[in-house]
C-alpha cells in the first residue's frame, strides 16, 4: 500500500518539518506569474467529499492542478450514493478508473482509515467527523512559521485555542501539530465544550492569558450546538470567549489571530479582522494551497525509488 496522510501523528515531528520545508518551495511556485510545475504530470487526484466544504475542496483542487495532476471531483449529491451504493463500492468504483490519491472528507470519524484499507491509492484525510483535519493543522503551522519567522520550530511559543474544542477536528489536529513542534498550547472553552479527556492545560478565563500569548486561534462557534444547550446563548459566549475590541487591544503587538473559517462574525470575533494587524486568516487560506501541494508531492512525487540511474546525475 502506498503512503497516506490520515493524522498529523502519522507524520511525526520530522514528517511535519519535511512538509513545511517543501511548502516553502510550493509557496515560491505560487508567487510566480505562471504558478504551475509539471511535477505530478500523469497523476490523478480524486476529491471525495461527503460533507460540505468550499475552501478545503477548492484548495486541494488548486494544489493538484498547480502540480499538473489531473483532478476529479466526486459530488455526493449527484452520485449513486443516492441509489444506496455503499462507501466501499463507491471507492472501489472510482479506484478502478485509475486514481493515485483520494482526498476524503466524511462526517464519520475514521472513514478515511477505512478507505485507506480498501484501495492501493494514497488517501488524504480532508476532515473526518470530530477526529482529525491534518492538512488544516499543517497549514496553521506553516502560517505561524512564516508569519513569526520560526523555521526551526515553535519552542516556547504560547498558543491559545479558543472555542468548541469538543466537536472540533481542527482543534484536535492543530493542537497536536503545534505541540509536536514545541509550542505550549492552552485550550480555552466553557467546560461543556471541552472533551472529557484532554492532555493539555485548559481554562475558562480567556482574559487571564490574552496579554501573554503569541497566537490566538479562534474556532468557529457552531450554531447547532445551541440546540444541545451546551452554551446558554451566543451573546454570553461572545462576552466570555469572543475576540472583542477590548480583548484585541490587550493582545501583544506581535500576536497572531487565526481562524480556520468559515467565520461567524459577531460571535467568536466581533472586530473586523481586516483591521487587526496580527490577523493572518487570509494567509491561512493562501498557505493552504502551498501546504496541500507539499502533501500531494510528498505522497505522490516519487517514493517508487530504486529503478535505475541512481548515480550522481548532479
Amino acid at each position: 500500500m502506498t503512503a497516506s496522510l490520515l493524522t498529523v501523528e502519522d507524520l511525526g515531528t520530522s514528517g511535519i518539518q519535511r512538509i513545511l520545508d517543501l511548502a516553502d518551495h510550493m509557496a515560491e511556485v505560487n508567487r510566480r506569474p505562471n504558478p504551475k510545475v509539471p511535477a505530478l504530470r500523469g497523476k490523478t487526484v480524486c476529491n471525495v467529499f461527503f460533507e460540505d466544504s468550499t475552501r478545503t475542496r477548492l484548495s486541494f483542487e488548486t494544489a493538484a492542478k498547480r502540480l499538473s495532476a489531473d483532478t476529479m471531483t466526486f459530488a455526493v449529491g449527484q452520485s449513486s450514493v443516492n441509489k444506496g451504493e455503499s462507501l466501499r463500492d463507491t471507492i472501489e468504483t472510482i479506484a478502478a478508473m485509475g486514481v493515485d490519491a483520494f482526498v476524503v472528507r466524511h462526517g464519520s470519524s475514521g472513514a478515511p482509515l477505512l478507505v485507506d484499507g480498501w484501495t492501493t491509492a494514497s488517501v488524504i484525510n480532508a476532515g473526518d467527523g470530530w477526529h482529525a483535519h491534518p492538512t488544516q493543522a499543517l497549514l496553521d503551522a506553516y502560517t505561524i512559521r512564516v508569519a513569526l519567522n520560526r523555521t526551526a520550530g515553535f519552542d516556547g511559543l504560547r498558543v491559545a485555542i479558543v472555542g468548541d474544542i469538543k466537536h472540533s477536528r481542527v482543534a484536535r489536529s492543530t493542537a497536536t501539530a503545534l505541540t509536536m513542534l514545541g509550542a505550549d498550547v492552552t485550550l480555552v472553552a466553557p467546560r461543556t465544550l471541552l472533551p472529557p479527556v484532554i492532555d493539555l492545560p485548559s481554562t475558562e478565563a480567556l482574559d487571564d492569558l490574552i496579554g501573554d500569548i503569541d497566537v490566538l486561534y479562534l474556532l468557529r462557534m457552531q450554531q447547532e450546538r445551541m440546540g444541545e444547550a451546551l452554551v446558554p446563548s451566543l451573546r454570553e459566549y461572545t462576552m466570555r470567549f469572543g475576540l472583542t475590541a477590548d480583548r484585541a487591544a490587550r493582545l501583544a503587538p506581535h500576536a497572531l489571530v487565526m481562524h480556520p473559517g468559515p467565520m461567524n462574525r459577531g460571535v467568536e470575533i466581533t472586530v473586523d479582522p481586516a483591521e487587526l494587524p496580527g490577523a493572518v486568516i487570509t494567509q491561512q487560506v493562501t498557505n493552504g494551497i502551498a501546504v496541500r501541494m507539499a502533501v500531494l508531492f510528498d505522497l505522490l512525487g516519487g517514493e517508487r525509488s530504486s529503478m535505475s540511474d541512481e548515480k550522481a546525475t548532479t
Partner: protein, 180 residues
C-alpha cells in the same frame, strides 16, 4: 594536474583539480562569458540548485573584477527538481528554493551548474526558467563536463572536460574536483 591538499580526499578518490585550478578555470570562464556576449549588458547568471549556486556566485564575482561596467551582473538560482523527468524513478526532494529576483524576459541567461552529466538536470532547469519568462538566449556554463549525455545538450563554457566512467561519481566544489 596540480595536487591540492590531500587531506580532504577520501581513499579511492582522485583529485583532478585543486583549489587554484578551480579559481583559474572560473576566471577564464568569466572572461569567455564577457567575450561571447560583448560585455555584460543584459546578461544574468542563474545557478542550478544546489551545486550550481556557488559557481554562479563565484562567476559573478569574477566578472565583477574583470568588467568595469557600473551595473553588477545579476545572479539568481533555480530549483529544477519539480521539473525532472525522473520523478517516480528516484526520490526527489526539492533542493533549495528558487531565487530569481530579476526579470528574465529579453535578457541573456547563463545557466550555471557544477557538473554536466546526462543533461537531464539542464533540461529541467530550462523548463523552469521558461516558466519565469522568455530569455533572449540561454547559454550553459559548467565547471566539469564528464560526458555521458542522454539529451542533445552542449555547454558553451567549460572549466574542464573530464572523461569518466558512468560508475564513477564526480564532485566539484571551490576546494577542487574529485572523482571517486
Amino acid at each position: 594536474m596540480a595536487a591540492g591538499p590531500e587531506t580532504s580526499t577520501p581513499p579511492g578518490a582522485k583529485q583532478v583539480l585543486g583549489p587554484d585550478d578551480v579559481r583559474r578555470a572560473i576566471t577564464r570562464m568569466a572572461h569567455e562569458i564577457i567575450e561571447r556576449n560583448h560585455g555584460t549588458d543584459r546578461v544574468a547568471l542563474i545557478g542550478i540548485q544546489l551545486g550550481g549556486v556557488w559557481l554562479a556566485e563565484a562567476l559573478g564575482e569574477a566578472i565583477a573584477r574583470i568588467d568595469t561596467s557600473p551595473a553588477a551582473v545579476p545572479v539568481g538560482s533555480v530549483d529544477a527538481s519539480l521539473y525532472r523527468d525522473d520523478i517516480g524513478l528516484r526520490p526527489v526532494s526539492p533542493a533549495a528554493v528558487s531565487d530569481l529576483r530579476f526579470d528574465v524576459n529579453g535578457i541573456t541567461v547563463v545557466l550555471v551548474d557544477d557538473v554536466l552529466y546526462t543533461g537531464r538536470t539542464v533540461r529541467a532547469a530550462l523548463d523552469a526558467i521558461g516558466d519565469y519568462g522568455r530569455p533572449r538566449a540561454v547559454q550553459l556554463a559548467v565547471l566539469v563536463d564528464r560526458g555521458h549525455r542522454e539529451l542533445p545538450i552542449r555547454p558553451d563554457f567549460v572549466g574542464k572536460n573530464l572523461p569518466t566512467s558512468s560508475t564513477e561519481s564526480v564532485s566539484a566544489t571551490v576546494d577542487g574536483v574529485v572523482i571517486s
